[in-house]
């Protein structure tokens, strides 16, 4: 549905976008994951047409984006971009007018949106009286008022409490189930993992990895970690020496526990347990955890996603 090819954009000497390319399938949720300042918002601004890229191309359904094509997208800015002095109905009516909605069509769409974001009972109340979560929901509602096929979310959950975040996820999942195409930028890997079918990791204006979650995790040396907890740090040190000799993977000591990046998950599990039993080292807890996008980012850039 949307294709970006070698998109570039500079502000003075700063390269905000340095050849960004990816494609988004119709009806999918595409995640754009990266730290602050990576180029996510600039990419989004280029897609919605708010800025003109210096180079590269954008295509909607294989064609250069026309104003009409761009009107078929909805945009949720990072901040709450609604008019606080107006009520929910007035806000929606204003944005509806910008999309040429009027009369009964506008009224029915306003009702549908208010219902979907759970604000039908607060339609005539000034936004400034709303809670942060309610404002966020309306902020999202404005974006799909005109029933677009593509909706772009620019970090819609920044500073949102867990309850409101879940409410926002419910809205996103409902939109996805309606067949909408979603582009979702975030620096929260958990959100990308939960919501997105495909993910592009972006850093310093470049896409450094792209694919499904499995594709991205496959770029790591191992998709799982073994974590073993011991009685205390002294036992942990003793176990580390034994496991290192057993050559089952890279072993890192973290206080009273060890984390092992196994060379092969199945054999490493049995190998680790056998090694500990043979050396008569007791352990309190043993479990495997799946690698995360955080580790993918760390693996690709040598930095943490939250740095």
């Amino acid at each position: 549905m949307v294709e970006l090819n070698a998109l570039t954009k500079s502000y003075g000497r700063i390269k905000a976008l340095d050849g960004v390319s990816f494609s988004v399938e119709k009806g999918s949720c595409f995640g754009l994951l990266g730290p602050n300042g990576a180029g996510k918002s600039t990419t989004i601004s280029a897609i919605v047409g708010a800025i003109k890229p210096d180079g590269g191309t954008i295509a909607f359904n294989g064609k250069p984006p026309t104003p009409a094509a761009r009107r078929n997208l909805g945009y949720v800015p990072q901040e709450i971009a609604i008019f606080e002095d107006l009520n929910a109905q007035q806000n929606l009516a204003f944005f509806g007018a910008l999309y040429d909605l009027n009369g009964s069509k506008l009224k029915s769409r306003i009702q549908a949106v208010l219902t979907q974001v759970g604000l039908q009972d607060r339609a005539n109340e000034p936004i400034k009286n709303f809670s942060g979560g309610m404002k966020r929901r309306l902020n999202i509602g404005v974006a799909f008022l005109h029933d677009p096929d593509l909706i772009i979310f620019d970090e819609p959950t920044v500073g949102v409490d867990p309850q409101s975040r879940n409410a926002i996820f419910d809205i996103l999942e409902a939109l996805k189930s309606q067949g909408k195409t979603l582009i979702y930028t975030t620096h929260y890997m958990e959100e990308a993992e939960r919501l997105c079918d495909r993910i592009a990791i972006i850093d310093h204006g470049r896409v450094i990895a792209e694919g499904t979650l499995d594709d991205l995790l496959a770029t790591l040396p191992a998709r799982y970690r073994l974590t073993i907890r011991f009685q205390d740090a002294e036992v942990s040190t003793k176990a580390k020496e034994a496991l290192a000799r057993a050559e089952i993977g890279q072993v890192a000591e973290m206080g009273d526990r060890l984390q092992i990046v196994p060379t092969h998950v199945a054999t490493s599990i049995t190998g680790a347990i056998t090694c500990l039993q043979r050396n008569q080292i007791p352990f309190e807890d043993f479990h495997t955890i799946r690698a995360t996008l955080e580790e993918v980012f760390l693996n690709q850039t040598g930095r943490s996603l939250r740095d």
Binding site: S45, V48, G49, A50, P67, A68, R70, R71, L73, G74, Y75, P77, Q78, E79, I80, A81, I82, F83, D85, L86, Q90, F94, F95, A97, L98, Y99, D100, P126, V142, D154
Partner: protein, 424 residues
């Protein structure tokens, strides 16, 4: 495009009316300032007579002419004389208690009369507080008027004139000048012998050549209306300043909208920057017009301001002024990067424009160079246009020049704003 412009303007009006407190403040503040200035600068009570300038007089000359001179000074509308000793005069002026003191040195009256013929004028000492140099100019003007009147009369009439002429003949060594003075004295004696000597009772003769009669050139027909004219200028000027401050608020709200992504969100609807600016401009113009109308309406109801000229001219100039301030707001928003930066600079710009444009003081009070510069200040044309319609009794045609200037400034401001927003 038109529907979007209307939608944006309607939204701006909704936002303005939604915050009732802010709306009332935007109207009440210019009214309060204008009322204050109106009372201070134009005293109520039906008279617009200027306040007299307190002036200390040191009377070191005790000659007979001094009494006449003092009586004449007391009649002057511009100054309020008080006789004091030199020491007191010096101290009070130095402290700034009084702006001006005039010292009449010993023998001033006689010397002044003789000076009409011998070109040796006595010196009149004027002490003044440098912070009140305007007072000095007014007092000097008033003195010139009073002294010329009395000294000319005393020096050029009857025996006094003959004595002065004889003294002039004796004191000159230049034969040609001596002959001229003797001819003058002979003519004088002939005139006296024929009964036409100046200064004789019932005959007339040389006296003050003119009297000044001041008449306020307003369309006002009575003293109440005359006072209201002064207030009309104050309300016009401070009304314009008020809507310029509203324009700053509008600019700040636009910058805030850019900061929180509203601008991008609106642009994402494929609404062009030009359309957004036209919508914002329309909304701000209507609100500015409303504020200006409220300020002037208050002035009319509470301060007795009248529209002595054309109502239509008033409406046209007010609308052009509102458009100019709306585009000024767009200009501020387009030049500013952050609200904090822009607010301080734009407040300074508004205050400078108000001052240079004659919103605070009449333009004629300013130095010549500043008066020339003020032609490049839009406030000047707004105030001039409103003044004309309100109290100068100007017709529709008098609105033409100010309106054209205001429209020119509007186009300039809007053009720069559009260029800046498009290239951002």
């Amino acid at each position: 495009m038109l529907a979007k412009i209307v939608a944006i303007a309607r939204k701006d009006l909704q936002v303005y009316f939604a915050d009732r407190k802010a709306m009332l403040i935007s109207i009440a503040v210019p009214i309060a300032i204008a009322s204050f200035f109106g009372f201070v600068m134009v005293p109520s009570g039906g008279s617009s007579a200027p306040t007299k300038i307190q002036t200390l007089i040191v009377e070191e000359d005790t000659g007979p002419l001094m009494d006449e001179i003092l009586a004449e000074i007391k009649k002057n509308d511009a100054i309020d004389p008080r006789i004091v000793k030199r020491e007191e005069a010096e101290e009070k002026v130095k402290k700034g208690d009084v702006g001006v003191a005039v010292i009449f040195p010993k023998g001033f009256g006689d010397a002044a009369k003789r000076a009409l013929f011998n070109n040796q004028p006595p010196k009149l000492e004027v002490l003044y507080d440098p912070s009140k140099s305007m007072d000095r100019q007014v007092v000097e003007g008033a003195l010139m008027q009073s002294l010329m009147s009395k000294i000319t009369q005393a020096g050029m009439t009857g025996e006094s004139a003959r004595d002065n002429l004889e003294m002039a003949i004796q004191s000159t060594t230049n034969p040609k000048r001596k002959a001229a003075w003797e001819g003058f004295l002979s003519a004088w004696n002939d005139l006296d012998a024929s009964g036409g000597s100046p200064g004789r009772p019932g005959v007339g003769g040389m006296s003050e050549p003119f009297k000044i009669e001041s008449k306020a050139m307003t369309a006002a027909k009575d003293s109440d209306a005359d006072a209201a004219s002064g207030r009309a200028h104050v309300f016009a000027g401070l009304g314009i300043q008020g809507i310029l401050f509203f324009a700053i608020d509008a600019a700040m709200s636009l910058l805030r909208e850019k900061r929180i992504g509203l601008w991008t969100r609106i642009r994402a609807s494929q609404t062009s920057a030009t359309t957004i600016l036209l919508g914002r401009g329309l909304g701000s113009t209507l609100i500015a017009l409303l504020i200006l109308a409220c300020v002037l309406a208050f002035g009319m109801v509470a301060m007795g301001i009248r529209v002595e000229g054309s109502w239509l001219a008033l409406g046209i100039v007010a609308a052009a002024s509102a458009l100019m301030t709306a585009t000024f707001g767009l200009l501020v928003a387009s030049l500013g990067k952050t609200e904090q930066q822009s607010r301080g600079l734009s407040i300074l710009a508004v205050l400078m424009m108000a001052m240079l444009g004659g919103a605070w003081f009449p333009i004629w009070l300013m130095p010549g160079a500043i008066q020339t510069v003020s032609k490049a200040v839009p406030v000047r044309w707004a105030v001039e246009g409103l003044d004309s319609a309100l109290w100068r009794g100007g017709g529709l045609s008098t609105a033409l020049v100010p309106t054209l200037w205001l429209l020119g400034f509007s186009i300039l401001f809007a053009g720069i704003a559009a260029w800046r927003f498009k290239s951002a």
